[in-house]
Each structure stands twice: as structure tokens, then as C-alpha cells.
Symmetry: C2
Subunit: 145 residues, 2 copies
């Protein structure tokens, strides 16, 4: 199989076209990861989540790693990794702007964030908007047999 | 969307039938994740990898998190998380046994582990066999609109 490092421009292109990835964070020396939906715009990755372990851990340690795959076949795929920093969008202005950007692709899913059977009250159901500032982005691609 | 916690038996069933997941580890306070192929047998997750960042980090900190998805549609999916411990299979006997188990599903792919353009010499190309001892397994499932 012919595997090579992706060019930076190809990484950015894949990131721009993708909306599903897996986000890893860690606390102490315990890693945690969940699937997320996101949107890349203006040099940042944007997403939102309900409150929960992922948000608590990223507030405590903002270092995150996002993985995005584009799978065609076992012999033809792309896989990129973003190392970056969680930044919560805490002001109303930031949240309003985040929503305006995110609703452009408003078919949200986010299995890792949805709380099963959570009561529809209180802060638990207020989405937390966040961005990931990109420190580095790398990728590998397989070009076929 | 109707989302609920998966029963333990359903988690184990999904794990048994799956071979692709994403494995997160961390070093210091930096998380890292890659797609892996694995096989679940005899109460352990088994896989192998070429040497590299993932193996180095798991040797330094054996705490790992494995995520497995089964996606049918945006409204019907399963997602499970395993928290566990990396354990390298270091003896020849362990390695031989690992290979005998892993070759039963020998259509290996593993994008995260393949080294692009690595020279075909030395320890870099010797696979490292490892198991993940399961500390906990949890999952969520969406059952449709």
C-alpha cells in the first residue's frame, strides 16, 4: 500500500470539507475521546456540546487532539490529526456568533454529547460553544494498491 | 432522537463484532488518538502496531480509551467507549499467540500505524503486539427518530 504524508493544503482541504471527527482530551493521565460534529471556519474548528465529562475535562486541560478520516477503501483513505487548544466561547456575543456560523450546517448529530434521558431543565441542556485553535495539523493518505 | 445507555451485553456484542476503532492515549497533558484495527478475544482487545508515537506513549502511560462506532444513520447509531490498560506482549510466546489470534482476521489495514516511506530495515518494521485489558465499557445508542 502506498502511504504518504499529506500536504498541508490537502489537510486543510479535507478539514474544510469534513464535519465529523473524534475529539480526544485527557485529565491527569487518563485519555478520553468522543465523536463530534464540527465546522471549520476562519482558521478555527468550531463546535458545541452539552455539559458533561468532555467539557469538564477540556476546561481543566485545554489540550485536545481531533482526528478526521475520509475512507474510500482499505487501500484508499486519508486520516488527519489536529493538535490544538480548546477555547470556550463564553460571552453572549461569542455564543451568538458561534451559533450563526454553526447553523449554516445545521444538521447536527453529535452522539457523544447527547445526554440520554436528561431532564429538560437547567444548565445541563444549555449548549457550550467552543473553538479549537489549531497548533498543528498532519495527515497521512493511502493512494491505492 | 431517542438516545439511551447501552446495556453491558450489547456493548460486548458490538465490541465482539467490530474490528475498527479509535484509540486515544496521552503523555503529560497532551492527548493523541489514531484509528486502529483490533480483535476482541478472551476478554481482551488485541492489536498490533509498528513502533511510533502511539507505542512510545502507551509504554510511558498505559491508560487508553478505545472508541467504537456503529453508524446506520444520524438517528440510529451505537457508540461505545472502553477505558483500559495497554499491555505489551513482549515474550516470543506471547507474540506467537497474538499472531495466531490476530491472523484469524487478517485483512489488516491500520492507517494510523503505517509508516509512510519508512526504510524496510531494523526495529521500526517489527510489529509491536499488545492487548488492552478492559477496566470499563460504556455505550450510547440512538434508536431512531
Amino acid at each position: 500500500m502506498n502511504v504518504r504524508e499529506m500536504r498541508h493544503a490537502d489537510c486543510m482541504d479535507l478539514l474544510s470539507k469534513s464535519s465529523l471527527g473524534r475529539l480526544a482530551c485527557c485529565k491527569g493521565n487518563i485519555p478520553y475521546l468522543v465523536p463530534i460534529q464540527f465546522r471549520y471556519a476562519e482558521n478555527r474548528i468550531r463546535s458545541f456540546s452539552l455539559a458533561g465529562q468532555k467539557i469538564e475535562w477540556m476546561r481543566a486541560n485545554p489540550n485536545v487532539c481531533l482526528e478526521v478520516e475520509h475512507f474510500v477503501s482499505r487501500h484508499q483513505w486519508k486520516c488527519l490529526l489536529v493538535q490544538g487548544q480548546f477555547q470556550e466561547q463564553a460571552t453572549q456575543e461569542q455564543r451568538d456568533y458561534a451559533w450563526s456560523v454553526l447553523q449554516e450546517d445545521n444538521d447536527w448529530w453529535e452522539p457523544g454529547a447527547l445526554k440520554p434521558n436528561s431532564p429538560n431543565v437547567g444548565d445541563q441542556n444549555k449548549p457550550v460553544y467552543y473553538t479549537i485553535a489549531i497548533d498543528s495539523i498532519t495527515g497521512r493518505e493511502a493512494l491505492g494498491v
